[in-house]
């Protein structure tokens, strides 16, 4: 089956730097894809190549099986929403929404009907005659979304659409975008650096770094089975501990860790541990690792500890502050044992590839 949108080895080179490096991705119709990564990872460049504002150095973009890489932006039929809203300041809200329709051979009654419908949909029908500068940021962004969706675009492109909004408003607009996208079965690609936002909005996420795609997958895939240490840290802030893998794992600072899994290869490796899947206890005999509390913070729902395994190695743990297995707040200096289930743990080799697990060990026997 031909995917709705296919990016094949999409590359953008600026002088010596690769802003996007062989980005390859298939997107199904009606899917919401979020490109996620730190600034400079190539997510915006990729989006702008899809929109046609940036010409790809290499690679192809196919929409419904047809290459569109050579089409100018105005012939690609894509609605784009920008971080700074990019409304036309001299046009009223209604004229802003009508703009894309005026560029198309759509008869006036139909145009007016669609504008009214879009404004109702984003709950701005009261504001049709206002100028953009008379609206709040959240309202302006809703106008921008209505404007982009009014043309029934083949693709809805969202470039950090929430980052200029207040924290509270951000969630509202995020939900509104997601509902609209699902309601209209729009195929959408959004760019963001905010992990939370990405997790909330996406059907699938694409984590990028240094122009390259690190991993593509659903939230569960990225969280449970990160394919690189970068993904493990970027999604859910895993602790990354470099060291040597043998019978046990030895950190660079000399601490010994009894891993929950048995792994195929030995040698230099990095382990990633989920903070919220590590438990602390005083009874340290059965622990996978031992450490000393440096810092403890009560965050409301969770209690967070910073634990030193050795002078060079620190990790963060988070435990529920309530319930049967509530984590107490240990005073600094307390000697603790750390335990975790196999699902908390991922091991990566020197090339940042995950090392396959041969067996798992659910519990540690005393004096093992």
């Amino acid at each position: 089956m031909i995917p709705y949108l296919r990016l094949d080895s999409l590359t953008k080179r600026y002088h010596d730097t690769l802003a996007a490096d062989r980005v390859t991705l298939d997107i199904a119709q009606g899917e919401m894809i979020v490109l996620l990564g730190p600034s400079g990872c190539g997510k915006t460049t990729t989006l702008r190549m899809i929109a046609g504002f940036v010409e790809a150095t290499e690679g192809t973009i196919e929409l419904e099986g047809r290459p569109i890489g050579n089409l100018p932006p105005h012939r690609r039929d894509m609605g784009m929403v920008f971080q700074n809203y990019a409304l036309f300041p001299h046009l009223s809200v209604a004229r802003n929404v009508a703009f894309g329709l005026e560029m198309r051979p759509i008869p006036r009654p139909e145009r007016e009907k669609r504008v009214a419908e879009m404004l109702r949909l984003v709950k701005l029908d009261q504001y049709a005659a206002r100028l953009p500068r008379q609206l709040s940021g959240g309202q302006q962004q809703r106008v921008a979304i209505a404007r982009a969706v009014a043309i029934h675009p083949k693709l809805l492109l969202l470039d950090e659409p929430l980052s200029n909004l207040d924290a509270e408003l951000r969630q509202d607009v995020a939900r509104e975008i997601r509902l609209l996208q699902q309601d209209r079965a729009l195929t959408a690609i959004m760019v963001t650096h905010d992990q939370q936002e990405a997790m909330t909005m996406a059907d699938r996420l694409v984590v990028m770094r240094d122009g390259r795609v690190q991993q593509v997958g659903r939230q569960e895939d990225l969280y449970e089975r990160p394919q690189t240490p970068f993904v493990a840290r970027f999604i859910g802030n895993s602790n990354l501990l470099p060291g040597t893998l043998g019978d046990r794992f030895r950190t660079e600072g000399g601490a010994e860790i009894r891993l929950a899994g048995t792994y195929k290869t030995a040698g230099h490796a990095t382990i990633a541990l989920r903070p919220e899947r590590i438990s602390l206890s005083i009874a340290a005999d059965t622990a996978r690792a031992r450490g000393e509390i440096l810092l403890s913070s009560y965050m409301g729902a969770v209690v967070e500890h910073v634990v030193a395994l050795d002078p060079q190695t620190q990790l963060v743990t988070r435990g529920a502050s309530f319930g049967d297995s509530a984590t107490p707040r240990f005073p600094a200096g307390t000697s603790v044992g750390l335990n975790w289930l196999p699902s908390a743990e991922c091991v990566f080799d020197d090339n940042d590839r995950p090392i396959a697990r041969i067996a798992t060990q659910q519990r540690i026997e005393t004096n093992a």
Binding site: P73, M80, M103, A144, R147, L157
Partner: protein, 271 residues
């Protein structure tokens, strides 16, 4: 407490005095000109024995041609400098290319050169071209218009550039993604965003051209004299209230231009 009240009152008084003096400095010459233009005297004597509007009746006969010439030159210079200056402003604000700095300087340079020097240089150049090609340039209306474009252009470019500094380029991208081709983007997004700047540019260009004297001195010819030059020539032989009346007429023309433009844009926003 009382001390502070005293200094505050003194400050306010000084403030009002300074504003009053400034208004006096600006308006007194204008009012005086208006006053002089009503004297019923052959030479300006003070105080006048009687008042008359007769001088205004003479303007059309003595300066009508010059006013018409000045108007034609100013309007043509405004049109031409907008035609060149708007695209130049867009290009300079948008693209980084080799020679951009030099081009920018070149377009603004005439501001820094005395008009009389430009006038002389253009005259010499025109004579030289005429000798080489037989093209009658010196003393022609086209030459005057081209010369005026030179001094109006810097204003247009400068103001167009300024109007684009706060312009969001992403609005152009938004328009493109909504299906607007580059020409429609220009007409429906970029130019509307520049509108206040363009109006201000046209205004400044008109005034700069209409009131220019130095540049014209070398370029006018018998039968083709601009208003400021005509006034100067007249003043060499007469000192009567007619000159004051012409000055009032000139102010009225510029004021009318301002008011006309104010109908389209709020000048307060532009300037």
């Amino acid at each position: 407490m009382r001390h502070r009240a005293w200094t505050e009152r003194a400050g306010q008084a000084a403030n009002r005095l300074l504003i009053g003096l400034a208004c006096l400095a600006v308006f007194l010459p204008l009012i005086l000109t208006l006053y002089l233009s009503l004297f019923n005297e052959q030479i300006i004597v003070f105080p006048p024995h009687a008042y008359t509007l007769a001088w205004y009746a003479q303007i059309a006969g003595k300066f009508g041609d010059a006013i018409w010439t000045s108007l034609r030159i100013a309007m043509a210079a405004v049109a031409l400098s907008l035609l060149i200056g708007i695209p130049a402003g867009i290009g300079l604000s948008r693209y980084r290319f080799p020679g951009r700095g030099a081009l920018s300087t070149l377009l603004l340079a005439p501001l820094t050169i005395p008009g009389i020097a430009i006038g002389l240089a253009i005259y010499v150049l025109a004579v030289w071209i005429e000798e080489q090609t037989g093209l009658a340039l010196a003393g022609s209306l086209r030459l005057l218009i081209m010369a005026h474009v030179l001094i109006t252009m810097p204003w247009v470019v400068r103001l167009c550039l300024a109007s684009l500094t706060n312009h969001e380029r992403t609005t152009e991208e938004a328009a493109a993604s909504l299906g607007a081709n580059p020409i429609r983007v220009l007409l429906r997004v970029t130019l509307p965003a520049m509108r206040p700047g363009i109006v201000a540019a046209a205004l400044f260009a008109f005034i700069v051209s209409f009131e220019n004297l130095e540049l014209n001195l070398f370029l006018v010819a018998p039968g083709l004299t601009t208003l400021p030059v005509a006034v100067l020539q007249y003043l060499q032989y007469h000192i009567d209230p007619l000159v004051a009346a012409v000055a009032v007429a000139q102010m009225a023309i510029v004021g009318a231009a301002l008011m006309l433009l104010d109908r389209f844009v709020r000048l307060g926003q532009v300037l």
